[in-house]
Amino acid sequence: MILYEKSVEKIEAVLQTFIDESGATYVLLADMGGNMLFKAGEGNFDGATLAALSAANYAATMEIATLIKEDNFSLLFHRGNNENIHFARITQDILMIVLFKPYLSLGLLRLKIESTQEEVNDLIGSEEWQL
């Protein structure tokens, strides 16, 4: 997959707006194969490893859903003492991983994720992608 410069800039600008408006710490878009695609925000860790583990975590959770005959788990997030992490599948092959502080409202964050998801989807639908 080729990610063109303009497409990357546009999508990362949307992600930066998400960070500014939601108060989240870091956002990462990864494909289901565990590759890091786009990111915004500050994170003092290895994004490549976060992408690989998140894709695996999401895929394993979906297998659990299948096993117990559940279509989908609508909420997938981990609460920590200093950092929370939320996972959302925003297209068939793209996962949005958001790190945010525990004092932020999860409900509000999810609303922001939904609107960002729409914007990213529109961009991915309109931008030139070479698969």
Partner: protein, 206 residues
């Protein structure tokens, strides 16, 4: 599936170590990680292992490496192992998603030849699941545990292993020992070059 980011000028490539249980996939990654940590200071990520208490791989082992520049692009290699045990079929299939290159680590022990064959057939099935085949993904074989020859342990000779797994593909293979490091770096070097060359030919310079 390789990711080429024209803004960041990076090429990300995913390479998977596949093979039967206890054939030495994790040992390969540990050896590469240890060696590269000394030479590529700061360019190599942490080795992440998701294993059971008995040190058997439960999900995968993983680490990213920055291998310098090629045609002006930073080359980022992501190395994964799959769990070898038969029961972890689902996780093996998940890890294989988007693979660009595969190192098939075959066990040289005479008693493990059937397990090699089963694992190889399983690889083809799982590639098919992701709509991939061995024409589209680069593959190299490793005939591992050759060091055990010196300990008078019964090993299958390389010619027979070639015959069993590589007679049709006739792809590159390395006799190896993941424990001593014999041909471990050569294998990863070979598959990295071959995979990246194909990715560049098929995309950037298309």
């Amino acid at each position: 599936m390789a990711i080429i980011n024209l803004k960041e000028k990076t090429i990300q490539v995913k390479i998977i170590y596949y093979g039967p249980g206890r054939s030495g996939k994790t040992t390969n990654l540990e050896y590469i990680h240890n060696r590269l940590q000394k030479t590529l200071n700061g360019e190599i990520g942490k080795l992440t292992s998701i294993d059971t208490k008995g040190d058997r791989t439960l999900f995968f082992d993983f680490f990213p490496i920055n291998l310098g520049k090629i045609a002006g692009f930073d080359l980022k290699l992501q190395l994964y192992t799959t769990p070898g045990q038969v029961k972890y079929e689902v996780t093996r299939r998940l890890v294989l998603k988007g693979a660009d290159g595969i190192v098939f680590v075959a066990d040289s022990l005479s008693s493990r030849q059937e397990a090699n064959r089963e694992s190889f057939d399983n690889l083809i099935q799982n590639l098919n699941y992701h709509k991939l085949d061995l024409d589209g993904v680069k593959l190299v074989f490793q005939w591992n545990k050759r060091d055990l020859d010196e300990n008078m342990i019964s090993l299958t000779n390389i010619k027979d292993m070639e015959e069993q797994l590589n007679s049709e593909l006739k792809t590159k293979s390395f006799p190896s020992s993941a424990v001593t490091g014999l041909n471990v770096l050569k294998t990863v070097n070979f598959i990295a070059k071959k995979t990246v060359k194909t990715v560049i030919e098929n995309t950037v310079f298309q």
